[in-house]
């Protein structure tokens, strides 16, 4: 079976979730584009969108329609050529609407797993629960005569573990998209020792057609992305805990969030990033990773505490941010949760005091937004970190400490054989986390 034949029948598990819907969208468009090639005329392409909730599937179909419309508007130049033979479609609007209908007609929203029994490819984006994944995989595998290929979006569970437990005989590959899949360029690809090379080849082609960036990772729990992020988050939380000897918890969170956003010139602070991913998701990923990591404890009592308090972060269905460590208004942090008082305290009450403690900002500091797309950013960062290195303020000390830790996490991912090389670590942080510079650098040498 070649690439196209494989894609003639596909199922996305957990299709209505945040990651599932993005993967469904990308796959639907790729399948529709294949179906419109002259050589594929007459072939039937079917994409099952499998989820447990009918309500969620209804929402999913609406989401798909608006997203496909957006995608069609962007590629109308090419679409006019695709529909050149359809003489009745004249305006861009007619061609765009036809394309939306054609892509939608491939998708079948379903709630029963039996649909997956006829698919060649199973994309899995269910929740990050090994038992659940294994159960679904083995059920499908036992009932599907096509010897289907499983492409899992797990961000932390070792592929070999899933393979072995679900008895997939190497027909599984980690294909980890970043959130939201429609926008983020990065895809981490994780093969186990057992993974069949044809699947890796298929994924390479698929990711290339999606115009995404592939970064391979060893099959080690957490892979590169969460391997760095979870340790970085643990460091942030432990630094905040240290600071609570001299200040309140909310002040410490404010300071560490500011250090990691403003001083380190990142798109968001570490506490905001934890909220973005979700306190519950972070806790779960750590739980999955911890048994595999021998020389470190990947576990945060602070996350446990916040979970008990019911403060979970994460995102609403429309992509807006739920309150977590921080409270958000129009996407911007405005208050921090005080676990003792069990309420959010406005940042304006202590920001000035904390800023004074941190000392003067480096003169050459720039916001992330101003640097990320700047062609001269290499020079800008070199100068900035040189200045930071020469400073002795609390802010500068914390920032340097943090940057060094981030670098060491990256280096250890390479020496522990999680990442193949340093460049891959930097690519993951640059493309998956939108950092403006890779953590493995010599700026502070």
């Amino acid at each position: 079976m070649n690439y196209t034949e494989k894609l003639e029948n596909v199922t996305v598990l957990g299709a209505a979730g945040k990651m599932g819907s993005g993967i469904l969208l990308l796959t639907a468009i790729e399948m529709a584009d294949l179906s419109m090639k002259p050589e594929n005329k007459g072939k039937q392409f079917i994409l099952y969108a499998l989820d447990i909730s009918q309500t969620a599937l209804s929402g999913l179909m609406k989401y798909m329609q608006t997203q496909i419309l957006k995608a069609a508007e962007k590629k109308v130049v090419a679409l006019r050529k695709v529909y050149a033979e359809h003489r009745d479609l004249i305006d861009n609007s007619e061609i765009i609407n036809q394309y939306v209908m054609d892509v939608m007609s491939i998708i079948r929203p379903v709630t029963t797993i039996e649909s997956a029994y006829e698919s060649n490819i199973i994309f899995e984006a269910a929740s990050e629960n090994p038992e659940l994944k294994i159960k679904m995989f083995s059920q499908i595998n036992q009932n599907n005569k096509n010897k289907p290929w499983f492409l899992t979006n797990t961000s932390s569970i070792p592929i070999a573990h899933l393979d072995k437990e679900a008895k997939l005989e190497g027909r599984i590959l980690g294909v980890h998209f970043y959130n939201p899949p429609a926008v983020q360029k990065l895809v981490e690809v994780i093969k186990s020792d057992n993974t069949k090379p044809e699947i890796v080849e298929f994924a390479k082609q698929f990711i290339k057609n999606l115009r995404k960036t592939e970064v391979p990772s060893y099959d080690f729990a957490g892979f590169i992305g969460n391997g760095h992020f979870m340790r970085d988050a643990l460091h942030g939380m432990s630094e905040a805990q240290k600071l609570t000897k001299e200040m309140s918890f909310i002040e410490a969170v404010y300071i560490i969030n500011k250090i990691t956003q403003d001083y380190l010139i990142r798109p968001m602070g570490i506490f905001q990033l934890i909220d973005y991913v979700g306190v519950d998701v972070c806790q779960y990923i750590m739980k999955v990773m911890n048994p595999y990591v021998k020389d470190e404890e990947i576990h945060s009592p602070l996350l446990d505490k916040f979970m008990e308090l019911g403060v979970r972060g994460g995102q609403n269905h429309d992509g807006s941010q739920k309150d977590g460590f921080l409270k958000y208004e129009k996407g911007k942090p405005v208050a921090i949760y005080d676990p003792d008082k069990k309420q959010y305290i406005a940042i304006t009450e202590y920001a000035a005091k904390c800023d004074a403690k941190l000392g003067d900002l480096p003169k050459s500091i720039l916001p992330w937004k101003a640097v990320v797309g700047n062609p001269n950013k290499e020079v800008i960062f070199r100068n900035y970190f040189k200045e930071l290195n020469s400073m002795k303020t609390l802010g500068a000390e914390l920032a340097k400490e943090y940057a060094k830790r981030s670098k060491n996490i990256g280096l250890k991912l390479v020496s522990d054989k999680v990442a193949y090389n340093e460049k891959d670590v930097n690519t993951v942080l640059l493309t998956g986390f939108f950092h403006a510079y890779g953590p493995i650098n010599d700026y502070l040498n």
Partner: protein, 414 residues
């Protein structure tokens, strides 16, 4: 008609802001003024300068395609909305795609010549930001032959002028042509920065030339143009009054605040036919030739030109069509600085279509207002010097791909 049989003047010009991307006030997600608000603003501003609606005999409005952008036709019905005093006056709407504005002027001129009017209120309007650019392209494609739409580019008109640019590159060399197009863009933005109503008035880009030189991206746009080569999507209206000598007196306006229209040339090309040479604007050349001949002047007496640079390449081809440079040498003419605001003959002194904006049905009127302001010393920061021996201005407004053309020659008075 060798010369005009009556003296004709233009007075009391007004431009609204050319609204659209680039203006700080513009927010595509928020509700914006409708077409009637633009008509009202421009109409009332002209009436205020000419002593009120009672002085007006006839009204002409130019609009390309509000029927699709705004679901509005019969827009001459907005004249009495501008001012109750215009109720029951003869009003007419004209259309000639992007050449609509100057067709409205030509219609007003004819009313004066026909002696049915001594004062004609002329407006042009277009409100285009009601749809995304990709759907606006469908609407604007109506300026070409409908039967060509299916096989045309998604961005139909950029596609047409991309083909022209491609032919020009082929014939006269790509590198120099791209440089000249970028220079045209730089001039347009620098001029627009001097005019508060211009769409690019707020433009703060440092390296404009680098933007202009950006390599075209055929995957997302057209083969031979980048987005900076193109005029933007604009909302705007312009107004002016066309009057006879009697009309001038009636409005109480001194000749120092007026320009005289000494000639106009109109020309039409078969909309079903492709240009015989993609590197030339033949219809433009014909209209300008007629206008200069009726005016009995040569191009060397022209102090400033407003030409129809819907795309930078159209600006370069217009230079050649008018006769300032030989075929293939319009690029040198631009690169030598002749068209910049301190050059031999400043073109598009408030930015033209690329810099000021291109509210399609209003553009021809906007060009006349700009020349009126320059020749009466009212162009503010955008004012250029008008040499004593060059008292003339020229406007060239084009509809479609060199199809519907009007050229007008204006004379500075006193």
């Amino acid at each position: 008609m060798r010369t005009l049989r009556r003296k004709i003047y233009m007075i009391a010009g007004y431009n609204t802001i050319s609204m659209g991307s680039g203006r700080k006030e513009f927010n595509p997600k928020k509700e914006r003024p409708g077409i009637e608000e633009y008509v009202k603003e421009a109409g009332q501003a002209v009436l205020k300068q000419i002593g009120g609606a009672a002085n007006v005999d006839e009204c002409v409005i130019g609009n390309f395609i509000a029927a699709r952008f705004n679901r509005q036709a019969n827009i001459e019905g907005f004249f009495p909305y501008i001012d109750e005093g215009l109720k029951f006056k003869p009003c007419i709407r004209v259309e000639g795609a992007c050449g609509t504005g100057a067709l409205a002027l030509a219609t007003g001129i004819r009313s004066i010549l026909a002696e049915t009017a001594e004062v004609v209120l002329v407006l042009g309007v277009e409100v285009q930001n009601t749809v995304k650019a990709i759907y606006g392209a469908d609407i604007l494609a109506a300026a070409g032959w409908a039967k060509e739409r299916k096989d045309g580019h998604a961005y139909f008109f950029p596609g047409k002028f991309s083909d022209r640019a491609g032919a020009y590159y082929e014939k006269f060399g790509k590198e120099k042509t791209r440089k000249a197009m970028a220079k045209w863009y730089v001039n347009a933005i620098e001029n627009a920065r001097l005019c508060p109503t211009a769409q690019e008035f707020h433009n703060t880009t440092k390296d404009l030339n680098a933007q202009g030189m950006a390599e075209p991206n055929p995957r997302g746009f057209v083969d031979n143009l980048n987005v900076f080569d193109c005029s933007k999507v604009s909302d705007g209206a312009s107004g002016i009054a066309i009057v006879s000598e009697e009309g001038l007196k009636r409005c109480g306006i001194s000749t120092k605040d007026a320009v005289e229209v000494i000639s106009f040339g109109q020309s039409e090309y078969d909309i079903t036919k492709a240009p015989s040479d993609l590197t030339k604007l033949e219809t433009t050349a014909d209209a300008v030739k007629k206008a200069l001949s009726m005016a009995c002047i040569t191009k060397d007496q022209i102090a400033t030109v407003e030409c129809h640079d819907c795309f930078t390449i159209a600006g370069i081809m217009a230079i050649e069509a008018i006769g300032f440079a030989a075929h293939g040498e319009g690029t040198d003419f631009v690169l030598e600085g002749n068209t910049s605001r301190t050059g031999k003959v400043p073109f598009n002194t408030t930015g033209g279509l690329v810099g000021w904006g291109h509210p399609t049905g209003a553009t021809g009127v906007h060009q006349a207002v700009t020349i009126l302001e320059q020749l009466t010393g009212k162009a503010g920061n955008a004012q250029i010097e008008i040499p004593k021996d060059k008292p003339f201005g020229l406007s060239v407004n084009m509809g479609g791909d060199d199809k519907t053309l009007v050229a007008i020659v204006y004379k500075k008075l006193n």
